[in-house]
């Protein structure tokens, strides 16, 4: 369970963007499996707000790649119905924020039906959306409430941070027979990374150790993985060796990799762009405090969005979200704590 990134990603020569990686996964799986179709606002000819569906409409046609009116609740509800009837729909809500308009269908219907039908019906449904803020997207377009989905049994949740992970996890999502909430990050769509041409899948529930280290474990999510890695490089100069773990999926959740790391480092910092209260950062803290209390040499520490709505003004916006500087200084404090 607890290994550094598989070899394949290091060997890969080819470098593509996070958005392209998602498209490739969809393309490959849609070619393989005719039951997959894709619906959402602007995902047809336009190719998605973030180019996250570029080329799919041209290749698969309007029957399998459908632009929808602005009706998120119905989009999700139709996805559930289609999944029950044997399709494997991908419903792209584009902005994670607007998943709120559809969350009743995801939580009440999609997450429960397999269980309450005694396993008779399956709900193979991917709800895709991009979370996080980027360039003053402001209060209604920057949300990060992925903890809501992790709270609910019956949902799987993927939260990729690299092109490699996007592709491997999306392919897995499209073969999973359960509802999967697949959360990209708006700020990462243009980020490039190595993605092999050969087919690969990334299993759900397997964290990636994005950097190995000895003194402190940093668990970071989504875009914060990149900031944590930058911070780790800077911390190295202070003589602090940080291990950076990206859970990659929130459900199933790979506690083992984190527990193993904390057993080694004795220190845990969680970095999340979401709010702290009842966030994934709380859950990770709880997992360690309930299962590995005696491994800790220092209190757990959380670095999260400060508790205010997402502000438009760049000054506030940048201040509210964890920065590399903040991560460096707070991790350093934890690493040096000898209390």
């Amino acid at each position: 369970m607890s290994q550094a990134e598989p070899e394949i990603s290091q060997d890969a020569q080819r470098v593509i963007t996070y958005a392209e990686a998602g498209v490739e996964a969809l393309q490959e799986e849609m070619r393989r499996d005719p039951s997959i179709f894709y619906i959402g606002q602007g995902i047809g000819p336009r190719g998605g707000n973030f180019q996250q569906s570029r080329g799919l409409w041209a290749e698969f046609g309007g029957d399998r790649v459908r632009d929808t009116p602005i009706a998120e609740r119905a989009q999700a509800g139709l996805g559930v119905g289609a999944a029950l009837a044997g399709s494997h729909p991908v419903v792209d809500i584009v902005f994670l924020d607007f998943v709120l308009e559809a969350i009743c269908e995801i939580i009440q219907q999609a997450s429960t039906i397999h269980y309450i039908s005694d396993g008779k019906f399956k709900v193979p449904l991917v709800i895709r959306a991009a979370g996080g803020g980027v360039r003053s997207t402001g209060p209604h377009h920057s949300h990060t409430f992925y903890s809501f989905f992790m709270h609910i049994p019956g949902l799987k949740v993927a939260l990729p941070s690299t092109p490699y992970d996007v592709k491997g996890l999306m392919k897995t999502a499209l073969r999973d027979q359960n509802p999967v909430v697949f959360i990209d990050h708006k700020g990462l769509y243009g980020v490039k990374g190595p993605v092999p041409k050969e087919e690969y899948l990334i299993p759900f529930g397997k964290a990636a150790i994005k950097r190995t280290g000895e003194h402190v474990t940093i668990v970071a999510l989504s875009q914060m993985v990149h900031r944590a890695l930058q911070a780790a490089t800077l911390l190295e100069k202070q003589g602090i060796s940080a291990e950076v773990i990206d859970p990659r999926t929130l459900a199933p959740f790979d506690s083992e990799t984190i527990l193993t790391s904390v057993a080694k480092t004795g220190r845990l910092v969680i970095v999340d762009e979401a709010y702290a209260a009842c966030g994934v950062s709380a859950e990770i803290a709880a997992i360690v405090a309930t299962q590995a209390l005696y491994d800790l040499d220092s209190p757990i520490h959380r670095i999260c969005a400060l508790p205010a709505p997402h502000a438009f003004s760049p000054s506030l916006d940048n201040y509210l979200i964890p920065s590399v500087d903040r991560i460096v200084s707070e991790v350093a404090r934890v690493a040096k704590d000898r209390s």
């Binding site: 119905a74 999700a76 119905g81 289609a82 009440q108 219907q109 309450i116």
Partner: protein, 322 residues
């Protein structure tokens, strides 16, 4: 209306009586204190599920509501496994996990009753979309109450189906009340069929207590959908004889005269009287159906009451599928 055949009359009669007797039995068990949860019975409205589902194939889809026992039975879930489900027992169609508002059966295309008011509309629409994308000629039916039509999901669902020309039939069971709220307090436009115009689809008002009329209208709508001509909205006017759920007498917010008037329009008796008057079916033939159904329902009750509760060792099974 075309003259119905004897077989059709008997089969529709049987369908309605089975639902009626199932619900009467469920009430009896509920009152005995043995049934968990809260049941919403369909008595008085049997003509709708029966007339509509008689036009469907086994592989067509139905999505239903909290008041869904009748739809389930009409679509082909057995009385046995329906009743066992109401008991929360393992032989129920949902293994006891779902209960009265969550009957499921893929074998007969029953995409679930529902504890939430409007999602069945969306689920049926989604199934219709799936059929269309798969280039199958299956159709989907959404049953829902008057309480659902002022909800946004109704609007979104019908707009999708109209725009994409999906093979779905929207069946509004307008029984004039949503819990204790009269429909005319929930909306200024109480003519549900007229709302079809907003989506540019056909809409018809149907006497929901006349099974032959429901059957005929359903036939047209299903044929239209099957031909790829898109959705239809059917408003079936009807009435529930009893309270919203067992425990509500249904009499504090509805006038005695109103209840009496609608009881006069009993869909079972109306079909029977008409067929007798037309000398199409004999009293003995009807009586034979009654006796058959009684047996089926008694057997179902016995079966359900004997079926055990799920073992707690299975409590975490089926949270995820493989």
């Amino acid at each position: 209306m075309v003259k119905p055949s004897k077989e059709l009359v008997l089969s529709l009669y049987r369908g309605m009586v089975e639902i009626r007797e199932f619900e009467m039995k469920a009430r009896e068990i509920f009152r005995s204190g043995k049934m968990p949860g809260f049941i919403h019975v369909y008595i008085g409205e049997e003509a709708i599920a029966t007339g509509i589902c008689a036009q469907l194939r086994k592989d067509d889809y139905v999505a239903s509501t909290h008041r869904g026992h009748g739809h389930a039975i009409a679509k082909g879930i057995s009385a046995r496994s329906s009743m066992a489900e109401l008991m929360g027992a393992i032989d129920g169609c949902s293994g006891g996990r779902g209960g009265t508002m969550h009957l499921y059966e893929p074998e007969v295309g029953f995409l679930g009753s529902n504890g939430v008011v409007p999602p069945g509309i969306l689920i049926a629409t989604g199934a219709a979309l799936s059929a269309k994308v798969r280039k199958s000629d299956q159709v989907a039916v959404a049953f829902f109450g008057d309480g659902a039509v002022n909800n946004g999901a109704f609007h979104e669902g019908l707009n999708f189906a109209a725009t994409w020309n999906l093979p779905v039939i929207y069946v509004c069971e307008n029984n004039l009340y949503a819990t204790e709220m009269p429909f005319e307090q929930a909306t200024k436009n109480t003519d549900v069929a007229s709302r079809a115009a907003a989506y540019k689809i056909p809409g018809y008002q149907v006497d929901g207590n006349n099974v032959l009329e429901v059957y005929e209208r359903a036939g047209e709508a299903v044929a239209r959908a099957r031909r790829g001509e898109g959705p239809t909205l059917l408003e079936c006017r009807t009435y529930r004889w009893f309270g919203h759920h067992e425990g509500d007498a249904g009499t504090s917010y509805r006038a005695k005269e109103e209840i009496a008037k609608w009881r006069e329009l009993d869909p079972v008796r109306r079909l029977r009287d008409k067929a007798l008057a037309d000398s199409l079916v004999t009293a003995e033939e009807f009586a034979q159906v009654d006796r058959d159904v009684e047996k089926v329902i008694n057997d179902a009750a016995e079966y359900a009451l004997k079926s055990p509760q799920p073992d707690v060792s299975t409590a975490l099974d089926h949270v995820f599928s493989n």
